[in-house]
Amino acid sequence: EPEVTQTPSHQVTQMGQEVILRCVPISNHLYFYWYRQILGQKVEFLVSFYNNEISEKSEIFDDQFSVERPDGSNFTLKIRSTKLEDSAMYFCASRPVTGLYGYTFGSGTRLTVV
């Protein structure tokens, strides 16, 4: 079964540094998403992306965050200047144009800001 691939699986970064989390969605999917889960808390929506632009974003997704689809296969989440509270598991997801049947999450990137 096709998978959403996220790299790296773990990343440790110093506070104030920029970090880029990478995702390779399923090849025929056109909607892309980022979610995050702070340790011990629920999974929260960050942003959705369609047709090379952000279609919806949450309050969490402030100016420190950005997303990009730099080529035909990757979907990235950038955090410009990381804070301690950005430490979380970040999940990428993608789905086809129609229907939710193919909504698929990646296995996540655990980001630790020290």
Binding site: Y33, F45, E56, T104, G106, S107
Partner: protein, 114 residues
Amino acid sequence: AQSVTQLDSHVSVSEGTPVLLRCNYSSSYSPSLFWYVQHPNKGLQLLLKYTSAATLVKGINGFEAEFKKSETSFHLTKPSAHMSDAAEYFCVVSASGGYQKVTFGTGTKLQVIP
């Protein structure tokens, strides 16, 4: 608007006994519903999904869930718990239309007692 309520934050069962994890949803549109499992320090694994086909959905590892529109419920069940089922389980809802972000419940931690 959509929301999901997982009625129990913790459930404890003995190995070999049935599992019931409860989920109620609210959605303005016809919902799609999912159950995901997360083992400690791991990513999200899809157990099963309901997308307006059969109301009784069978998933992996012997789990199943029944969509009951009249009760707005999507409870997860398994006839006989195994030690490897100990994990956190998330009920997830998404409404049709729009960019279809999904909304997670707060999760239920399942403990299996030998």
